[in-house]
């Protein structure tokens, strides 16, 4: 377990050290590429400026995750229960991912305004696809013999979903959710770039225009921390929901 944490920490430390030494050795100015120590200083010293914006972006991401879950779970269940629904919706699902989010962002801002809604929807559009696809694959992966057993027990569709398909698909669901939350920041930030008055994306655009590259990097650092934090949170929830996996391995 210690090795699992130590290896990525060592790798991060090496990358940061090379970056720090490289910047100082080459004399790169801060408005081009600030060294990690400068970014960390700004991220901490300007926390009073960064945190309210980070809070807004986090709210957008969390609402986006909620919206994506609200859409993805019923959609995956419906597509599994009625393959005709899957056939009908598959082209739209794929198209929703084929269209670049950059192309959607200005439209959503026009339709939903500069407020929270357009960013939440942007984040949700990005998150819901991996969750839907993973959950559907999880349902489909259910062993035929178990399905037969439930048929022979006379289980209704709802009973089979609750007792068999849902627990069976949970590991797949969490795999999709982890992918979703780690890319959720992209949707929210792009939405903020296109049109917003708050949020880390808005702050990055403002800082960039003033050549405050260290502040841009500090915002990226906070975004990364948010992504890692959300990933970790999903991991904790996953462990709790899939407690039987850990218990079996003990």
């Amino acid at each position: 377990m210690k090795g699992h944490i130590a290896i990525p920490l060592i790798l991060v430390a090496v990358v940061l050290a090379v970056w720090e030494v490289g910047c100082r050795w080459a004399g790169i100015p801060d408005f081009i590429l600030p060294p990690p120590s400068r970014i960390l200083t700004v991220a901490v010293a300007d926390a009073a400026l960064l945190l309210p914006h980070a809070g807004i972006t986090l709210v957008e991401i969390l609402c986006g995750i909620g919206l994506a879950l609200g859409a993805a779970i019923p959609l995956a269940v419906g597509m599994h229960a009625r393959p005709a629904i899957e056939k009908a919706l598959a082209p739209f699902l794929i198209a929703s991912q084929a269209v670049p989010v950059f192309a959607l962002a200005p439209l959503l801002v026009v339709w939903l305004g500069y407020g929270l809604a357009s960013k939440v929807l942007m984040a949700a559009v990005i998150i819901f696809f991996p969750i839907t696809v993973s959950l559907l694959e999880g349902f489909k992966s259910c062993d035929r013999n178990y399905r037969v057993l439930f048929e022979l027990m006379g289980a209704s569709q709802w009973q089979a979903l609750r007792k068999l398909y849902w627990p069976w698909a949970l590991p797949y669901f969490f795999a999709g959710l982890k992918v979703g939350v780690s890319v959720a920041t992209i949707g929210a930030v792009i939405g903020e770039w296109v049109g917003a008055q708050q949020g880390l994306g808005y702050l990055m655009i403002q800082a960039n225009a003033r050549l405050k590259v260290d502040l841009v990097f500090a915002a990226i650092l906070w975004l990364s921390l948010m992504g890692v934090g959300l990933w970790g949170l999903v991991g904790i929830i996953e462990k709790r929901c899939l407690w039987w996996k850990g218990a079996a391995g003990e």
Binding site: D143, N145, Y146, V148, L149, F150, E151, L152, M153, G154, A155, S156, Q159, K163, L164, P167, W244, K245, A247, A248, G249
Partner: protein, 245 residues
């Protein structure tokens, strides 16, 4: 009594089962034994309605039925326990899905666990117990179907020899304690001789019954008993003849 007449199934133009006839007496233990791939498991899939039959008639207790889906309990080769449910909850599933109240089904399951030597393991997850215990739990679940007819598809094939011997005694309980009518498929001659009232030898596909052995010896039996050894020789000879074909 279960009566099967002229049961027929073709897959991809090949006859798997053709005009298959079989009678399983009430409270009887009928065992089918035959070469690998002869269609034994397909027969059960047809009987349970998992795979549609091409032709044939099935009757249970004198009443014709399309299949045994709602009339028989079916225990497959794998235990099929859900890894996220405790042994007790796994066993209770058929009763739970049928709407039996929690207290009633739990008390039924606990009584079965006591009979099958699973007491004190009710809360264990399937991955924490041995293969033999898992299979006993699957047997308890089969009994929780509360159906008079039980189909057993090589239920002990995945177990080691010693555990098999122990579980054969538990399978006997189905007949002696729970008054079930049993139709079992196996490829283990010893197991068949120890359990069967009627031992039917099957041909390779298209599957049909080529020999019938009536075993009227009291149970539990010892495989070393001279009469069983003599019958084993005859059954093996018949199986070898079929394999040679």
């Amino acid at each position: 009594m279960l009566v099967i007449q002229e049961l027929t199934k073709r897959f991809n133009g090949r006859w798997i089962i053709e005009d298959f006839n079989l009678t399983v007496p009430t409270n009887g233990f009928t065992v089918l034994i035959g070469p690998s791939g002869c269609g034994k498991s397909t027969l059960f899939d047809l009987l349970m309605g998992i795979v549609p039959m091409d032709r044939g008639r099935i009757a249970w207790q004198g009443k014709p039925t399309a299949n045994l889906n709602t009339l028989a309990a079916y225990m497959q080769q794998r235990d099929l326990l859900l890894p996220w449910l405790s042994l007790e909850k796994n066993a209770c599933l058929p009763a739970e899905l049928a709407g039996v109240p929690a207290r009633e089904r739990t008390s039924q399951a606990r009584a079965l666990f006591a009979k099958l030597g699973l007491e004190n393991f009710e809360s264990y997850l399937p991955d924490r117990v041995s293969g033999g215990m898992r299979q006993r739990c699957a047997l308890a679940r089969t009994l929780m179907f509360a159906r008079d007819l039980v189909l057993l598809d090589e239920p002990l094939s995945a177990l080691d020899a010693i555990t098999r011997r122990q579980l054969q005694a538990h399978l006997l309980l189905l007949q002696t304690e729970f008054d079930k009518s049993i139709l079992m498929v196996t490829h283990d001659v010893d197991e068949a001789l120890l359990l069967a009232d009627d031992l039917l030898v099957l041909t390779a596909a298209p599957m049909r019954i080529c020999a019938r052995f009536r075993i009227d010896l009291p149970k539990p039996r010892r495989i070393a008993a001279p009469s069983l050894l003599e019958m084993k020789t005859r059954v093996l000879a018949r199986l070898e003849k079929e394999a040679a074909w």
